[in-house]
């Protein structure tokens, strides 16, 4: 009689395959870190070159004309502030109203019908919203209300950007409202509160973290949005510092895009090429800060219940 010993360590080929597979997946996850590093490095190098070599007096000038050596950073910054704030004036009431109605008032069947429509709006590419802002919003809304507005204005672009971020604000704040436990609503009803009182005094305050997060996220998206402003904002190629929303203006994103669409594309005089990366770097930092803050708020909301 011979005794056979069975190896419990298993097939070595199988073990090797396990290790190889795991390493492949690890490498794919590491790619995302590489991409971040690549973004930061590609931006920071040229942005530094720009800030070191630029004639400092041209950083504060009458306007942003990179091809002529005028790099007034306040011009695209002012445009971005004006457009994104006005866009918030459009998107916050619309998005929040839609979220409150869908979450607190709509019957399930109505909600199942209306919510997908809002999602369709979310899926519309920004170039299409830009076209709509140019061909409909600007002549039929902005120009009709304000005689002094031209076909290209920051206001028309703001409304377009507002439409673009409305579904985002609506969906994130609806999630926040729905995350409020039903027991809180029932407690309010039990105390004799009406539905609208419950919404305003109980549900809304309880969901405030998530609602603030949705607004910050919307603001971040508005700052990073390019096509609407580029198509309707006017000021292609450069512009004078402008705070009046009825006049054309340029944002950081539109300034980057318009340097790229010049006849010579992104090769201009002197530091034109680098200036675009300086703007991109600022844009990257702004949105990163906003997204991190928004993330904080979402997490705080999640921890509460």
């Amino acid at each position: 009689m011979t005794t056979t010993t069975i190896s419990l360590s298993g097939n070595p080929k199988r073990h090797r395959r396990e290790r190889v597979v795991k390493r492949i997946f690890w490498a794919s996850a590491a790619v995302s870190v590489l991409i971040s590093a690549a973004i930061v490095m590609s931006l920071i190098g040229r942005a530094t070159t720009f800030f070191v070599e630029v004639d400092k007096s041209s950083l504060v000038d009458i306007g942003w004309f990179p091809r002529r050596g005028l790099y007034d950073l306040l011009t695209p910054l002012a445009g971005t502030v004006v457009v994104s704030l006005l866009a918030m004036f459009v998107a916050v009431p619309l998005g929040l109203g839609a979220a409150i109605y869908l979450s607190e008032f709509a019957r399930p069947r109505v909600r199942r019908f209306l919510k997908p429509i809002l999602e369709v709006l979310a899926g519309i590419p920004s170039v299409v919203i830009g076209f709509f802002a140019l061909t409909w919003l600007s002549p039929n809304l902005v120009q009709r209300v304000f005689d002094s507005a031209g076909i290209f204005s920051m206001l028309a672009a703001s409304i377009g950007v507002g439409i673009l971020i409305t579904p985002l604000i609506a969906s994130v704040s609806e999630d926040a409202l729905r995350a409020v436990p039903t027991s809180l609503r029932e407690a309010a009803f039990g105390l004799g509160a009406k539905r609208s009182e419950t919404v305003r005094k109980v549900v809304f305050p309880a969901a405030i973290s998530g609602i603030v997060a949705s607004m910050i996220l919307g603001l971040s998206r508005a700052i990073g949005e390019t096509m609407v402003m580029f198509m309707v904002g006017g000021a292609v190629g450069g512009g004078i510092r402008e705070l009046n929303p009825l006049r054309p203006g340029t944002t950081m994103t539109a300034a980057i895009a318009s340097v790229a669409t010049g006849s010579d594309q992104v090769v201009g005089e002197g530091l034109t090429f680098e200036s675009v990366f300086a703007l991109g770097f600022l844009l990257f930092v702004f949105t990163l800060v906003l997204n991190t803050v928004s993330d904080r708020f979402v997490r705080r909301a999640r921890e509460r219940y």
């Binding site: 395959r17 396990e18 795991k22 997946f25 690890w26 794919s28 996850a29 590491a30 790619v31 995302s32 870190v33 991409i35 971040s36 690549a38 931006l43 998005g95 839609a98 409150i100 109605y101 607190e104 008032f105 209306l114 709006l121 899926g123 519309i124 590419p125 920004s126 170039v127 299409v128 830009g130 076209f131 709509f132 140019l134 061909t135 409909w136 439409i163 579904p167 004799g192 509160a193 009406k194 539905r195 609208s196 009182e197 990073g224 949005e225 390019t226 580029f230 198509m231 980057i256 895009a257 790229a260 669409t261 594309q265 675009v276 991109g280 844009l283 990257f284 990163l288 997204n291 993330d295």
Partner: protein, 317 residues
């Protein structure tokens, strides 16, 4: 005391208050205001579609499918979107080939292998942050990196790297974080008992993933990837930065395969953009909305596919 003098009133007040739903005038006004805001956002969609379809109708009525199959042209009577469609599908193919394997692989690592360590948390935070980076910044990355890499490896062609390959890589990187996030969610939805059953019969980790986790998560992953492709299909800004052709170009009649792939290109949303800023009225007035209709049609098909896939294969545990 008013309430004691009129007990019937008190009962009514208490009953009304306890029902809760019964809204007073202010309550009704509030509900109405919220509904108005919701309907206003939906009205925007209706206006948008009406504006675009109204503008597009003449083109489709007079040209029909000819508009879809014709190439770019300087003559508004013969210009079509075929060049843009080909470019967009070329870019999407590269996005699918590059972003999906890496994205799904990363999701598998994060959900199935990674332990809750500082490194893992760093990678997850990093992915969330990448998803929030504006698309035009990815364009700058593409310009600084992919256009050069494509040119360096000899695939630059006559555009010295400003071609479909660089565009595909740029958009692949742009959607990668979204692919990872949606694939992770789909994998996370597979219950742990499925994995434990696999381990229990002696399967290795990879075998459990390959034969149990991935098949169960496939519908969710597929839905997510289709939606991601739709997102990439509509992107315009990063392409503009990395030198997509925003004007007219024509392919030489005897161009080789290499020249066509590495030559100038355009994409459907870019065609919309460049036509809407043309000075010849017809391009902006009737051709651009017609191109938008084609673009929205493609996105509609993609979204419907995703919904059908989700409904057909969605598993409830």
């Amino acid at each position: 005391m008013a309430s004691r003098a009129n007990p019937v009133d008190t009962a009514t007040v208490v009953r009304e208050a306890l029902i809760g739903k019964k809204a007073g005038l202010r309550g009704m006004a509030f509900e109405l205001a919220m509904l108005t805001l919701l309907l206003a956002s939906l009205l925007v969609l209706v206006l948008l579609l009406a504006d675009i379809i109204g503008g597009a109708l003449p083109t489709f009525r007079s040209r029909g499918l000819d508009f879809v199959t014709s190439s770019l042209s300087l003559n508004p009577d013969t210009a079509g979107v075929a060049t843009g469609i080909i470019g967009s599908f070329g870019i999407s193919a590269i996005v699918a080939l590059v972003a999906f394997p890496i994205g799904i692989g990363a999701a598998i690592y994060l959900e199935e292998y990674a332990t809750d360590s500082a490194a893992t948390r760093f990678i997850s935070t990093n992915i969330r942050n990448l998803a929030g980076v504006p698309s035009i910044v990815y364009g700058l990355l593409g310009l600084a990196l992919f256009v050069r890499v494509v040119d360096l490896v000899g695939l630059g062609g006559q555009t010295s790297g400003k071609n479909v390959l660089a565009a595909g890589l740029t958009l692949a990187v742009l959607v990668l974080p979204i692919v990872i996030i949606t694939a992770s969610e789909a994998i996370r939805a597979v219950p742990g008992s499925i994995r434990e059953a696999g381990f229990g019969v002696g399967a290795t980790q990879w075998e459990v993933i390959r034969h149990h986790v991935l098949p169960s998560a496939a519908p969710g992953i597929l839905t997510g990837t289709v939606l991601t492709l739709a997102r990439a299909f509509g992107e315009t800004a990063p392409l503009i930065v990395i030198g997509v052709a925003t004007g007219f170009f024509g392919a030489a009649a005897n161009a080789s395969m290499f020249d066509t792939v590495t030559g100038p290109y355009t994409a459907l949303p870019v065609v919309v953009f460049s036509w809407s800023r043309q000075s010849v009225g017809e391009f902006a007035d009737t051709l651009a909305p017609a191109a938008i209709v084609v673009l929205l049609f493609v996105l509609f098909i993609a979204n419907t596919t995703a919904i059908v896939l989700r409904n057909r294969y969605d598993k409830r545990w």
